[in-house]
């Protein structure tokens, strides 16, 4: 359902991605594995349209989306959860959720604040708290919940486990499994192998903006440990 082919991207003169190709099939969790600076975040930004690719195509349900604006891509049902969370710190939890809200979408799970508070009970207890006054883990939950308010069909998660306490990471694993159960397609960027293997159906290894290997997580494990 989400297919990327021949993707090239650059910041100014620095060429970051070289002919990347991969896919995430409906209802599965695909993982992009790579070290710091491998180009994982740039890949996700290129899909959501924040970074304009130099070349290449991104298809979502067979439709090319690489020329669209980020808001148009989001409105097609692609949810994006950035690495640095980017919570609106001046806004409360409820207001943050409001920013992500989109009309219900056919073929996608339908989320409401009440449903999200079941998934993230912590958030339910701090509905009027300002984003600036939340812990890192709480912010990470909020940023996922905010994106889910758009009722996406696919969700791009950029290193959700980064900088979180082990307990919270375990919770994140359960969350991703739950999202998959609900029928969401997940494209996940990770460098934490332990985390990735608990959720991944399919894995790709990226190094210096190029694809190094693909397959099941166990198949690419060795390649990843070499990069």
């Amino acid at each position: 359902m989400l297919e990327v082919s021949g993707l090239n991207a650059a910041y100014g003169r620095a060429h970051i991605l070289f002919d990347l190709a991969f896919e995430a099939r409906a209802g599965e969790v695909a993982v992009l594995l790579g070290r710091n600076g491998a180009g994982k975040s740039t890949t996700l930004k290129s899909i959501i349209g924040i970074v304009r690719p130099l070349a290449g195509e991104v298809h979502f349900f067979g439709r090319p989306i690489q020329h669209l604006q980020p808001y148009q891509i989001a409105r097609l049902g692609v949810g994006y959860v950035p690495e640095d969370r980017r919570i609106f710190t001046d806004l409360t939890v409820m207001e943050n959720l409001e920013i992500g809200r989109q009309p219900p979408r056919e073929g996608a799970p339908r989320w409401t604040p009440a449903k999200l508070f079941e998934l993230f009970p912590n958030l339910g207890r701090m509905q009027d708290r300002l984003g600036a006054r939340m812990s890192g883990g709480e912010q990470q939950m909020l940023t996922i919940a905010r994106t889910l308010m758009g009722n996406p069909r696919a969700i791009l998660l950029d290193e959700p486990s980064e900088g979180l306490a082990p307990v919270i990471v375990e919770q994140m694993v359960r969350t991703i499994r739950e999202l998959k159960t609900q029928g969401l397609t997940v494209l996940l960027c990770e460098q934490n192998l332990h985390f990735a293997r608990q959720v991944a159906d399919r894995a790709y290894v990226i190094e210096k903006g190029q694809l190094r290997g693909s397959g099941t997580l166990d198949e690419v494990r060795e390649e990843y440990q070499q990069v």
């Binding site: 100014g12 959501i48 349209g49 924040i50 604006q69 980020p70 808001y71 989001a74 409105r75 994006y80 950035p82 980017r86 609106f88 710190t89 001046d90 806004l91 207001e95 943050n96 409001e98 920013i99 992500g100 989109q102 905010r146 994106t147 758009g150």
Partner: protein, 615 residues
């Protein structure tokens, strides 16, 4: 009314002055709130905001005879809002990704176009507005008569503040606006259509400006000067209150308006500006980001990467020397108007190079550089006429007045950066202009000073041309040489990364302050040369449009080039000469040319050429 010491004011007149201040604050608040709102979301400082205010005034005055005052006010505001939406959708929308400086320039071009449109539509005379029917009487307050309409205004400001609060805090639109203010890219990635949001925010900001103008018409006449007056007042309010904070704008509007009101009430109306300046200075020292403002997030590491300023090649130096030599030979061929035009070009080339010194390598985007030009010019005139100093000495010492101005203003300016700095430099320039404009006894007020002629041995066009040529070529060479001195390199380091420059022991602020003063010195020298070449000086020499002329010259030639500002100045002065002699509405033409350039070359003319030829 004569001057009355504060403690001799009766309690009732203190109350009346206080109420006057509250009434004036309302209109000022509306303008500043709109400016703040637009900046928050679009990151564009709308220079034309005062022009929208002016448009609101003129429209309300024009509509009132047909519809009555109470209908004309909202309709004028709505018309200004529609105009604002149109401007955003056709013009500003294309500039959100452009460098900050070009955005500011584009909105300034709008100032010129709107001013000439207003002149064309309603003529040069001040227009008196109607009184507000039903509120044209007065009430007795503490035994004194007080206009009913002013009481209405006192309530109107807080009413609008409340409405804005509701809109921003209690509606989905307001939540989206606040989110986009903080991180518009993320809002976009969550499905928020920024285009629509930006247009609506701009329309609301324009509405507030138009409304601010329209409600003023029973109190003051509509004039063609009000646009820059209001925008600099609004800048002061926004700087004092904190950019992006609506309650801050309200508080600062109250403060500034009360100061004005009491200065006028005490009979010291002429020192209003000085007091305003002192208040602003104190606020900036205590709270650099304004009363309720917050420090903008500092960008780590290098900002926009600028190519290093290359040393001019031997060939380039030979070409420059050849140009200077050719200029020295011109008087052999022509002694008439060409020399006058060339003298102007040389003077403004020096002005542009001095501005480029702080803008390009210094990274300080000054929107008030004409203040130092004007101080030099007035310094020359005053030394000659009031001080009885010989012309030669006046020319040497006049730039010191500019240095003094740059020392004081620069001290504050280098504490800020980006748009704050641009606003503050403009506000200082406007204050300097007002002092020159109002101080009739000393500076000749709006008429300026006349009879500033050079000594007899320099009185021929040719002799004065040679003096200008020698001075400007020498000064420009010095300015350029300094860019390649350790001081120049430290300045560029501070521009590219203040944090890293700090870390290696460069006192960035001190470097910038020194650069500010150094540039002020040469702008002052250009101003002094200008005064003697014209024989007279008027407040126009340091008005805001003159500052913007300098910006256009620098940008036209290329901000990150060495010699660009000289060619930019030559092109601009020549163009202005041609246009102003053949077209009535030359300001609009210049504005249109600037808009065209900015739209066609959003990365600057040289940026465009560089990209074109680098491939």
């Amino acid at each position: 009314m004569g001057s009355v010491p504060f403690f001799f004011m009766s309690a009732s007149s203190i109350l009346i002055q206080f109420l006057n201040g509250l009434a004036s604050a309302s209109s000022l608040f509306l303008v500043a709130a709109g400016l703040s709102l637009i900046f928050g979301v679009t990151r564009i400082i709308n220079f034309a905001h005062g022009s929208l205010f002016m448009l609101g005034m003129y429209l309300a005055v024009a509509l009132a005879p047909m519809l009555g005052f109470w209908w004309s006010v909202p309709l004028a505001a709505l018309a200004v809002a529609a105009f604002g939406a149109l401007v955003e959708a056709t013009l500003l929308r294309r500039l959100y990704a452009a460098p900050e400086l070009l955005q500011l320039l584009a909105t300034f071009a709008l100032v010129l176009v709107i001013k000439d449109f207003t002149l064309w539509a309603w003529g040069p005379e001040d227009l008196l507005g109607p009184r507000a029917p039903g509120m044209d009487g007065a009430v007795r307050i503490a035994g004194l008569r007080y206009p009913e309409y002013d009481l209405f205004l006192i309530g109107f400001g807080p009413l609008v503040l409340g409405a804005l609060w509701f809109l921003l805090r209690r509606t989905r639109w307001g939540t989206l606006v606040r989110a986009a203010t903080q991180d518009r890219e993320m809002a976009g990635a969550l499905g928020v259509n920024q285009r629509w949001l930006f247009t609506s925010v701009f329309a609301l900001g324009a509405l507030l400006a138009g409304l601010g103008g329209a409600v003023q018409i029973p109190r003051e006449p509509a004039t063609l000067f009000i646009d820059l007056q209001i925008i600099s007042d609004a800048f002061v309010v926004v700087v004092v209150g904190g950019l992006g904070s609506i309650p801050g704008a309200f508080l600062a509007a109250l403060l500034i308006a009360e100061i004005k009101s009491f200065c006028i009430g005490l009979g010291y109306s002429k020192i209003t500006l000085v007091v305003e300046f002192i208040v602003m200075a104190v606020v900036l020292i205590v709270r650099p980001w304004g009363l309720l403002g917050r420090m903008p997030a500092q960008t780590r590491g290098p900002g926009a990467l600028e190519l290093p300023l290359a040393l001019p090649s031997r060939n380039a130096l030979v070409a420059l020397g050849g140009t200077a030599l050719a200029l020295a030979l011109v008087p052999l061929l022509s002694a008439g108007y060409t020399l006058v035009l060339l003298t102007d070009i040389l003077v403004f080339a020096l002005f542009a190079v001095s501005l480029h010194f702080i803008m390009g390598p210094g990274g300080l985007h000054s929107f008030g550089h004409a203040a130092y030009f004007g101080l030099g010019a007035y310094g020359a005139g005053l030394l000659l006429l009031k001080g009885g100093v010989p012309m030669e000495l006046a020319l040497v010492f006049a730039p010191l007045l500019a240095v003094l101005g740059a020392l004081v203003f620069g001290w504050f300016c280098v504490r800020l950066s980006g748009v704050y700095l641009a606003m503050l430099t403009l506000a200082f320039a406007q204050i300097t202009w007002s002092v020159m404009f109002q101080w009739d006894a000393f500076t000749g007020g709006s008429n300026g000073l006349i009879g500033i002629w050079p000594s007899s041995w320099l009185s021929s066009k040719t002799a004065y041309y040679y003096l200008t040529l020698a001075t400007c070529v020498g000064a420009i060479a010095l300015l350029w040489r300094v860019l390649y001195s350790p001081f120049g390199y430290a300045l560029r380091a501070g521009r590219d990364s203040p944090l890293r420059a700090d870390a290696i022991g460069i006192d960035v602020r001190a470097q910038q302050w020194a650069a500010f003063v150094f540039a002020g010195l040469f702008a002052g020298l250009a101003g002094a040369l200008f005064a003697f070449s014209k024989g007279s000086i008027s407040p126009e020499a340091l008005a805001v449009p003159r500052s913007v002329d300098g910006l256009v010259m620098v940008l036209l030639g290329g901000i990150q080039t060495l010699t660009g500002p000289v060619w930019g100045a030559a092109l601009f002065i020549w163009l202005q000469d041609v246009v102003s002699r053949s077209v009535d509405y030359w300001r609009a033409v210049i504005g249109a040319v600037v808009l065209f350039l900015v739209l066609v070359f959003p990365q600057g003319v040289t940026g465009f050429l560089r990209e074109r030829f680098a491939r």
